[in-house]
Symmetry: C2
Subunit: 285 residues, 2 copies
């Protein structure tokens, strides 16, 4: 019997092992400077923070510690977004892991939790979009320097997430009681349990990618690119490409990697779905 | 900065990610009932026991706990031998990780440590050969039932390892101050650091396999099979197959998998080498 923190670490490992996961590092693909080994080390390093969340420490404290540990490898940011989903989920799993309990964890976050979130940016270089003018003092890229402005405005971590939607589908999970994360867990439960989890994970990743344009791709490369990637994923699913034409899917994966298009937000939601599915025993390893 | 227990967990993950690792589960290959995901879960589960070793708990206690956690996945035994090497190595890394310190840890094990080792067999089904007639009461497959006989003969864990050589190259490490494990770490340090670690690990695995017939293969399939596997590995190295003919190496890997030949002892020594190299900063992730 694994603890919730162990399940969360395993979810990070299963996520990166999922293949083919178009555009991302997976069991079969490395990027130029971001490799499979960095994700393995990121998952191992994150565990201390995940343990804190499981022990009932505040979400901001646990998240900052998880990010600090995750970042102690040479690939820089590997799992920041995934940890922003897993930390409240692990905290919620102390009781009973439901959409209601994780929603309550998120809504009860404090200004101190928001400060922890900002401090996490001191440990790692995360890609984020320009903030609107009135939010400039709260640009996350300021890291802990933004904490006085945060405290002055009395913003909780939930408030910060609220201001990040739309445009960030990790923050959107916080606002929707983790709608897509729980949906991903249900999809995982519906996959064929005789198949390796690396394939089942990849199937669910593709469904999520087809469902909504990836916000990391949209922020980095524009809405049009993000939309076209999702449409291509949807077309492959419609053609039943996973079963009848695996080569088409592999070609799509190779194409996105070569163009540097990484649907990272979709991977984050996939990791959250894996955790929920493990914790609810909807999948087993 | 990762703790020794984190480094050991990462070593287990890097070992299974190494590819192509002829005959074993690797980043690109699953076996019929033993898959990549089982090794990921095994590494995560082993951590609690590795933490105990790092905290200075007795080797037998830490090993039994590591095995119990490792075995909490559906693939049964994934990393028993690797943990029998990593546990004393992590314990030694509390001070300074050298062949002398790990030798001292092993030689100072007690009858209670041997009892922990036997209890570990209660948690998992490990392939072992028939013991000689006079050792029958100490057959490890008896698990904790063998402990009274062990106590009567006042055998320490080091004594048990001594009686397992020859025929078990994991035990041989205990008797040789971890000769091949430290050698593997040196080989890893000599690999090209611009290459992914999954390739560098596979290169070292192949060198170790060429160097000595794998004792798990010998015990399961006979000395002749083990010798022929090593000779084929040596031939590939002599032909510089890793660089000039990767297909020959992949074909060798596929062939061993299809014949159910798994050089597990060589993988155990590779994992130990990865830990030593990480801990001594001879490789970095």
């Amino acid at each position: 019997m694994r603890t919730p923190a162990q399940q969360a670490e395993l979810a990070l490992l299963l996520e990166v092992a999922g293949t083919p996961k178009p555009g991302n590092v997976d069991r079969h693909r490395d990027l130029e400077e971001l490799r499979f080994e960095h994700f393995l080390a990121g998952a191992v390093g994150a565990r201390t923070g995940l343990d804190l969340a499981a022990d009932g420490e505040p979400v901001g404290t646990a998240f900052e510690r998880a990010v600090k540990g995750m970042a102690a490898q040479g690939g820089d940011n590997t799992q920041f977004g995934a940890l922003l989903l897993l930390t409240p989920l692990v905290r919620a799993a102390r009781d009973d892991l439901t959409r209601a309990t994780v929603s309550s964890v998120c809504e009860n976050t404090t200004v101190a939790d928001a400060a922890g979130f900002y401090r996490a940016f001191d440990h790692v270089d995360v890609f984020v979009d320009e903030p609107p003018a009135d939010m400039e003092p709260l640009d996350v890229r300021r890291g802990s320097d933004a904490i006085p402005a945060l405290e002055e405005r009395e913003l909780t971590l939930f408030d910060v997430m609220e201001r990040s939607v739309p445009g960030d589908d990790v923050a959107r999970e916080w606002l929707t009681d983790f709608e897509r994360s729980f949906g991903a867990a249900e999809r995982l439960a519906d996959t064929d349990e005789t198949e390796p989890l690396s394939k089942r994970t990849a199937d669910v990743f593709l469904e999520l990618l087809a469902e909504r344009p990836d916000t990391l791709v949209a922020n980095r490369r524009g809405e049009d690119v993000a939309t076209s990637v999702s449409e291509r994923a949807a077309q492959l699913l419609a053609d039943d490409g996973l079963e009848s034409d695996p080569d088409a899917l592999e070609a799509f994966a190779d194409d996105l990697v070569s163009r540097g298009i990484n649907p990272g937000t979709t991977a984050d939601v996939t990791a959250a779905g894996l955790f929920i599915a493990l914790e609810r025993e909807a999948i087993s390893v």
